[in-house]
Symmetry: C2
Subunit: 331 residues, 2 copies
DNA sequence: CTGAAAGCGCTAACAA
DNA sequence: TTGTTAGCGCTTTCAG
């Protein structure tokens, strides 16, 4: 059928082992022999079979990436970070969407392990005992990206959501001298819980009495943002500011406010989270927390390569810096 | 090391062949035997090695997806379509970014072929002779998604960009009775050429004398849109409408217009392309051409499964329907 | 319905 | 520096 290493060996009058050596850049080959082999490889159009190599060497140079939803801006930027570093280290990525669904996640881990990936980058909502169990059924390294593991058993790359939310809230409190509203996308996303904690801590810190009525949960989409404002504005006293846990929701919030004839930031200030590209694509431009998504992916993948090479790793839990970028949706 | 089919066979007192049969759902196994095998698989925690299977069966149940940039909304939605259908047919996806770079594309095709993918979904700018050559070095099926192949040698799934652009332009001509400006992202993206052709055809069709000054090319980003308007508005006569070849650019255009104190659509109408999620996330909401990105991916993947199964395919070149959705950025 | 045995294409000792 | 020889873990005839 197709050309194998054996064909090349025969044509070049050497052994398979020698061909294998030149293909793998092993230095123990006489230059003239190498040249000869290289020429017949070229002539025959030989292409090494990575599957056979994987079986023999027990390394596939592919890693699995489990992601909630590639079509979300947040994760697609993150994935790009993973992919770039993977390419840099000669790995390929098997990508799968989990929709944050635990059964799917578990099943995907299994499938990737069957495919003998050399490592896994996992992004998801919550890490449960079952996830840990599943990972333990094999000893391939796993790194979490933008995903929290309460048990702290797994290496991970994150930002400090709690502090980021604290700072954003604090910022809003300082300009408005009052409790900002909080619009969030649901607790099944782990980081939202942390953001809420930061929000609450900032309020307590400023001795503000907490009004739970202006804490709104809705779908983490643009429309969820619009609806969130509608719910919020039914409340007697209108808040002077709103902290929203994703940019996309925040843009919905801004438009929801504007649709009611109110002004951002004069009537209500709006604060987003993530600094996705859309944060600039709205008027007024969105003040937000910069979460370096690309970097989270890149660092997670880099970390994974270290584990795969069995290198020393001094820090299993990486916290990347975040910062606040002020634009026109706040004063 | 880890459990193999041989271990299971020994423990269950059957042959490897029998274990292989039950794992692969071969019906020629006595129910009691099947049960026994299944139990010891469970007990031992056996996980089939897909790499070994791939080597023996010459099928990997993974397909390659080559994509310009996963972090772009357009392609990430498309990829989601590919992935969902792939999952449905039990395939996994190896995903790689090409940045529309020909060398990278060629190299990626090679890598995927080495990994013995069962098929490839290719998204890119231009298909050259070299691409075709590269694909021909193996007989795995290839399907193009949202990518044009002038030679028409490869199966593909697209929409009719030329007609879509024609219709959009026509629409603008009817309301403004004049030549709309054209802001585009560069000719290296094949579809932009087709859109331009449609634009020109519409102008000719309406016997409008073509003013090339209001045809602007810039980077296909939000900022490229803003800059595009700036260039455009330096021209003596202000156009009454602008047709923009991507939504993201179109939003830049809208903001660029608004930043100059002009009104959309009263002073200038804006027409986008793709109907990505951001089309709704702007005020005024964007009139645009609906290109079913998810469906393009899904249909491309479905088509690929047919080729991989050697099924009859009656239509190699699929053109999916597009439509125009009028929102508030046009009158 | 089940088993034996020959590969799939390559790597990795081990010899030479 | 090069070749020989076992596997890697599974599928797939072919017999029975």
């Amino acid at each position: 059928m197709s050309i194998t290493i054996y064909d090349v060996a025969r044509e070049a009058n050497v052994s398979m082992a020698t061909v294998s050596r030149v293909v793998n850049g092993n230095p123990n080959v006489k230059p003239t022999t190498r040249k000869k082999v290289l020429e017949t490889i070229e002539r025959l159009g030989y292409r090494p079979n990575a599957v056979a190599r994987g079986l023999a060497s027990k390394k596939t140079t592919t890693v699995g990436a489990i992601i909630p939803d590639i079509s979300s801006t947040f994760f697609s930027e993150l994935t790009r970070g993973i992919e770039d570093i993977a390419t840099m280290y000669k790995y390929n990525i098997i990508l799968s969407n989990s929709d944050q669904n635990k059964e799917k996640e578990l099943h995907l881990i299994d499938t990737m392990l069957e495919k003998q990936v050399d490592g896994i980058v996992f992004m998801g909502g919550e890490i449960t005992e079952e996830h840990i169990e599943q990972f333990k059924t094999s000893r391939v390294p796993v790194v979490l990206a933008a995903t929290h593991d309460e048990t702290n058993e797994l290496p991970s790359v994150n930002i400090d959501y709690e502090s980021a939310a604290y700072e954003a809230t604090k910022h809003l409190i300082e300009t408005t001298k009052s409790q900002p509203a909080f619009i969030t996308g649901g607790e099944h996303i782990q980081s939202n819980g942390l953001k809420y904690e930061g929000y609450i801590r900032a309020l307590k810190d400023s001795s503000i009495e907490i009004n739970e009525q202006i804490v709104i949960e809705n779908e983490a989409t643009y429309h969820g943002g619009i609806e969130g404002v509608e719910q919020l504005l039914k409340v007697a006293e209108r808040p002077k500011a709103i902290f929203v846990t994703t940019d996309e929701m925040a843009i919905g919030v801004i438009h929801g406010i504007q649709d009611r004839g109110l002004h951002v930031p004069n009537d209500i200030e709006v604060f987003g989270f993530n600094n996705t590209r859309v944060a600039l694509m709205v008027r007024p431009t969105l003040t937000t927390v910069v979460q370096p998504m690309y970097d989270i992916g890149a660092v997670a993948m880099r970390l994974l390569t270290k584990y795969m090479n069995k290198e020393e790793v001094d820090e299993n839990t990486v916290i990347l810096p975040h910062r606040i970028i002020e634009r026109d949706s706040t004063k």
